[in-house]
Symmetry: C2
Subunit: 300 residues, 2 copies
């Protein structure tokens, strides 16, 4: 496995590999099985898998969160090697943001201004969009793998790739969960055992809403109430809990398009995110048969 720490080393490592598909898995390190599920998905479609490890300072809007973010490079390299990663790109902040750096990639609108954008501030998704643009352009992979766990980030990445025409296909991999249902996150290591139990109310709330959808519930307020009940019972007050459209993160009243139920809550010292994809309700043939029938032209 090649470990590149500069853009020049990365380019040299990839130059002889460009005749076959390349995949990239952008991460902030502190690798867990969720990241490794992205590597597994990437390996299935690419001859070369690049894993980037960069704790991007510009997307942290609280210094304390940046300082507390777990870092474990040696451990990460061992895990990446075992998972079959071919090239790790682990640059310094000075390599990614040299003196004179002045460019920001921004996405306007509800997608970046609501939910995580509202809680963390405008700079968060500017930081995400800028670093993802830089990493995708540095690797110029055929495919890039992101986890559904960070649903709003996924939507931001898909938006910027489409808007700027970055020549990499974005592949979204379902959220990886521990056996108890908790979405895997590098931040989970900071949960106390008691908080970890409380945190299970998040996947429970999402599962309850998904079951209600399967049973025919289409009303967003009703779905929120079902999920809120589970959080309440565990004493959790969410930062937000909303049914949004998957692309633009506009809040929905009904499940009339691709939607996601998103939740964020602080559990002890840790802020956790989770979400569940809610398929739009398929219009059944019964309903189609109930449509008013237009009078045939020419009929008496």
């Amino acid at each position: 496995m090649i470990v590149a720490t500069t853009l020049a080393e990365l380019r040299s490592a990839l130059a002889p590999r460009r005749d076959a598909p390349i995949a990239v898995v952008p991460t902030m390190g502190a690798l867990h099985e969720g990241h490794l599920s992205l590597v597994t998905a990437a390996r299935a479609r690419a001859a070369t898998v690049v894993l980037t490890i960069f704790v991007n300072p510009t997307q942290f809007t609280e210094q304390a969160d940046l300082d507390a973010y777990p870092r474990a490079l040696d451990d990460d390299l061992a895990k990446a090697g075992a998972a079959g990663v071919d090239v790790v790109f682990a640059p310094t902040a000075a390599e990614m943001y040299p003196t004179g750096f002045a460019t920001t990639v921004s996405i306007a609108g509800p997608l970046t201004e609501t939910f995580e954008g509202a809680v963390r501030g405008r700079a968060h998704f500017d930081g995400v969009a800028t670093i993802v643009s830089k990493l995708l352009l540095a690797v110029l992979a055929d495919t890039a793998y992101f986890g559904q766990k960070d649903a709003q980030q996924v939507a931001v990445v898909r938006r910027l790739v489409r808007d700027l025409g970055i020549p990499t296909e974005i592949v979204v991999v379902p959220t990886s969960r521990d056996d108890d249902g908790l979405a895997r996150s590098s931040r989970n290591v900071r949960l106390t055992p008691a908080d970890r139990v409380r945190a299970l109310a998040l996947p429970r709330a999402l599962a309850a809403a998904a079951r209600a959808v399967a049973d025919g519930e289409q009303d967003a307020a009703a779905l929120r109430a079902i999920a809120a009940h589970e959080l309440d019972a565990a004493g959790l007050t969410p930062d937000y809990l909303a049914v949004v459209d998957s692309d633009g993160f506009a809040e929905l009243d009904r499940l009339d398009r691709d939607a996601v139920l998103v939740v964020a809550a602080r559990v002890g010292a840790v802020r956790l995110l989770d979400n569940v994809v809610l398929a739009p309700v398929t219009v059944s043939s019964d309903i189609l048969d109930d449509r008013p029938v237009a009078a045939p032209t020419g009929s008496p």
Copy 2:
């Protein structure tokens, strides 16, 4: 010559040509000999020359300027064909900015906030940076050709390409001038004969300053005064007239690094830009000999 109007057509046209060097010349059409000098430079280094024609609405901060911008697609295609362009990319605004488009590439600091950024407003260089990013990523050429005439735009493009890591080398071609010295510009067609004569004060002012530099003048205020005298004599009041560093467009007091004397002035109905590159003054051995000599260590 292939004329592509959609990104998909452009990709198809370029796919079979990617085994040899590709060059791109981004333009807003209304082609003149200045653009064709970029094509000539591009042809010297590339097997395939792509010329893009797109009057980018987002970089116009005045609707009247956008409306008045000359458009001559048939004429442009004839000129491009005669100049040996292989592929013209002439998309519609809807192709470049489809519904839902929400991404902006911005460069912070004096580079985009001063001079053209101050006169035209912040949105101007955001529009330039975003469309140039999109066009460069659409073509993914080895080299891209820009004219020195729009010096601040050149600096913005070089900054964003470096910052984002867009894999295209930016080549800057000296300003193309008519026989009388006027910098070629698509806007020149809107000058009345009398205004065209008055406009010659711009290249005269720049040439006077360049002569003064050749004669040893290094003081920015003195150079500005020399140029201002020529503009004054023609009754022109510049929007700005300044000696700036070529990369960051910070105003300089002395020619102590790569510098440009930039000028913008309204002549009749038309706003004209021009500039001259001023090489930094080489420190002569005489001057070096005048430096205070440190007492040798160990001397009495």
